[in-house]
Symmetry: C3
Subunit: 157 residues, 3 copies
Amino acid sequence: MIAPALAASAADLLAAVAHAIDDDALDSWPDFFTEEAPYRIVPRESYEAGEPIGILSCQGRGMMRDRVLALRTANIFEPHTFCHVLSRPALSRAGDGTLASRCNFALYRTQQAGGTELFAAGKYLDQIVERNGSLLLGSREVVLESRRIDILIVLPI
Amino acid sequence: MIAPALAASAADLLAAVAHAIDDDALDSWPDFFTEEAPYRIVPRESYEAGEPIGILSCQGRGMMRDRVLALRTANIFEPHTFCHVLSRPALSRAGDGTLASRCNFALYRTQQAGGTELFAAGKYLDQIVERNGSLLLGSREVVLESRRIDILIVLPI
Amino acid sequence: MIAPALAASAADLLAAVAHAIDDDALDSWPDFFTEEAPYRIVPRESYEAGEPIGILSCQGRGMMRDRVLALRTANIFEPHTFCHVLSRPALSRAGDGTLASRCNFALYRTQQAGGTELFAAGKYLDQIVERNGSLLLGSREVVLESRRIDILIVLPI
C-alpha cells in the first residue's frame, strides 16, 4: 500500500495537470514532467496490440514545448475549451521504486458555438517520481478508448 | 499542503452536496451553505471576462430556500433526475485562512421517457469554512463550460 | 467519520473492481465479492419504488461465475470496451459495523467501429466488509439512472 500522504500528493498532481490543460495554461504544462519524460497518446487497440506508433509522441519537455509553440502559432482549429473529470487513480510501486498510476478520465469539449460533448474517454498510465521534494510525471501514456481520432488531438490531453 | 483529514472532509462535503441534488433533497440543500453564502451559476465565458451577471444568483440560505420553494410550487418542467460525477478537488488555503476548492464535474440528466445524457460539465469554485466543527460552503460559484443554457438551469446544480 | 486509511482502501477497492471490468478481466471479477454476496442491477425508478425485480440479479460468486461463463460462451454481441469514471464514494458505518458506500459513476462504451459514448450513469450502493485483512464487496446494488436498458446489460457493470 502507498502511504496516504504520498497517494494524496500523486492524485493532486494528476488534478493539477488536468486543470492546466483545462485552463489553456499549456506553457506550464511541460513543467509537470521530468526533463526527459516520454509523453504518448495512443488508441487502446494499438496499446493492447503493443504497437509502438501512437497518435502523438513527445520525448521530453523540449519536444512538449515545441508542440505547444506550434499550436500557438498555427492556430487553425475552432476555439474550444476542455474540461477533465478524473476517476480515482490506482497507485502501485513499480520495480524501480517509482509510483505507477492508472487514472481513468472523461474529457469534455465545448466549442464556441455549441454545447458540451464528450471528446474522449480513456486512462492515463503514468510513472510518478520525486524531484527536489515535488512529484513529477516521469512518463505519461494516454490510452484512448476510441480509434476515431479528431484532428484536434494534436493538442495535449 | 492541506492536512489529509481536512482534505478528506472537504471532499466529503462536496460529495454530500452533489448527492443531495441527485436525491432531489433540495429542502436540505441550503443547509450545506453558511447563512450569508453567495451561490452563483455562470458560463465560463462570462466568468473569464469578469462579467458580474450570472445565470442564477442567490445571496444566502434564505434566497436559496425561496428558489427551492418556487421550484416545488411552479413545477413546469419535465420530470428528470440528476447524477453528478465529481473529479478530485484541488484545495488551497485562501488568504483569510479558509479553504479554496476547485472541483470539476459532469452532470447527467435522465428524463422520464428517455435515456441519460450529459446535461452540463464545469467546475465548482468553492470557499469552504468551518462552523461549529462542521464544514460548510462559504460561497459557491458554478462555472459551466457551455453558454447554451437550458431553461432547467433554474434548478440548483 | 471513517478512518482515512480505511476510506482509502474502500475507494481503492471500488477502483479495482471498475478496472477489472474495463480490462475485460471478468474471470476475476467475482473475486471482489464475498462468497454469498448479492449483486443486482436495477433502474433507479424501480429501486426507489422498492420493487424487488432487477435487470440482473446474482446471489453469490457462483452465480457470478456462471454469468461470466455464459457471456464467454455465447458471445453474440458486438465487441466493445468499457471505461468507468467514478466519483468520490460517500462512506458510512452500517448498523452491523460494516461500511456502506455510495459511489456515483459514468460508464463509457466504445464499439469497434465507432466512437465513445455514455452507456450508463448511476450509483453503486455497496456494503464493504473485511475478510482476512482485505476488503470485499459484501453486496452491490447498481442503480442505473435510466430505464432504457440495452441488451448488453447482461454484462457486469
